[in-house]
């Protein structure tokens, strides 16, 4: 299994659970899911990357694309990740300044709710 995707609603926010590796081969599936969610009207997203084992620049591009799409509807896309091996590429590219990155899904939802 290269990439496993699932999503559910929690406190009015759509949580996308990602498990496995996000790279040039698997990233299109995540991209399509994010597009589908936005098309269905889900503009408040949390992408849970606690079980992501690998993320490259292709995956970053998908996340950035998702962020741009929800922002076009005044929405949000936050990330959940504590793994340094994954956070490294966010730091290298400076995207830690762009994404809200939280330790847990609950914290991500709480942070988003508190901004409203």
């Amino acid at each position: 299994m290269d990439l496993k995707l699932d999503d559910h609603e929690k406190d009015g926010i759509r949580v996308v659970d990602v498990e496995g590796e996000i790279d040039v081969y698997t990233a299109p599936r995540l991209r399509e899911l994010l597009i589908d969610l936005v098309n269905k009207g889900d503009y408040q997203l949390v992408v849970n990357m606690e079980k992501v084992e690998f993320l490259d620049s292709t995956g970053l591009g998908v996340l950035v694309g998702g962020l741009k799409r929800v922002r076009a509807h005044d929405g949000s896309l936050d990330l959940v990740c504590r793994q340094e091996r994954i956070l490294k590429i966010f730091r290298i590219t400076g995207l830690t300044k762009v994404f809200g990155i939280h330790d847990t899904v609950e914290e991500a939802i709480k942070a988003r709710k508190s901004e409203k």
């Binding site: 590796e21 690998f54 620049s57 591009g61 694309g65 741009k68 590429i89 290298i92 590219t93 995207l95």
Partner: protein, 167 residues
């Protein structure tokens, strides 16, 4: 002398194979565990770039990787056979050598504002990372990166320190 050489059909599915081989050889060469994630990511980026270039210009040609351990350095060379165009090749060399990874964030932050973005935008209209961004990431991961134009395409050479051990 090359330890391991791999040639693979330019399919995205094979980039993971290349990563796995590179990390296995790096570990065997004595590269520190703390650097293996960097090897994995850097090799993946280089191979992803080469695969996309081949899919555009020469889908029938294989992407090649040479993995060597010599003089206390573990070296990976990813070679493609995609001609591309002169301006794109120069841009890649500049992105890789300048390590312009920070430009990625700047471009996102300025997205949507008229005339926003860096002078070398790293995102396309769909939010996908442009060619060159992967090399900017590689430049931050390997302490020695050399990008050169070959007769056929581009060669990306990366290396990390390896331990000297008896084999």
């Amino acid at each position: 002398m090359a330890l391991v050489e791999v040639a693979f059909t330019p399919l995205p599915a094979h980039v993971r194979t290349a990563r796995l081989v590179a990390v296995a050889v790096a570990r065997r060469s004595g590269v520190a565990d703390s650097l293996l994630d960097e090897v994995r990511l850097a090799v993946g980026e280089a191979c992803s770039r080469a695969v996309e270039a081949h899919r555009q210009y020469c889908p029938a040609e294989p992407v090649k990787i040479a993995l060597t351990d010599s003089g206390g350095r573990f070296e990976v060379v990813v070679t493609d056979a995609a001609p591309g165009d002169a301006a794109a090749l120069d841009g890649l060399a500049q992105a890789g050598q300048a390590g312009d990874a920070a430009g990625v964030a700047g471009d996102v932050a300025a997205a949507g504002s008229p005339g926003g973005g860096t002078s070398q935008p790293l995102f396309d209209a769909q939010g996908g990372l442009q060619d060159g961004s992967g090399l900017a990431v590689i430049a931050e991961l390997a302490d020695d990166v050399r990008i050169s134009r070959t007769a056929a395409g581009i060669s990306v050479c990366m290396s990390w320190p390896s331990s000297v051990r008896e084999r």
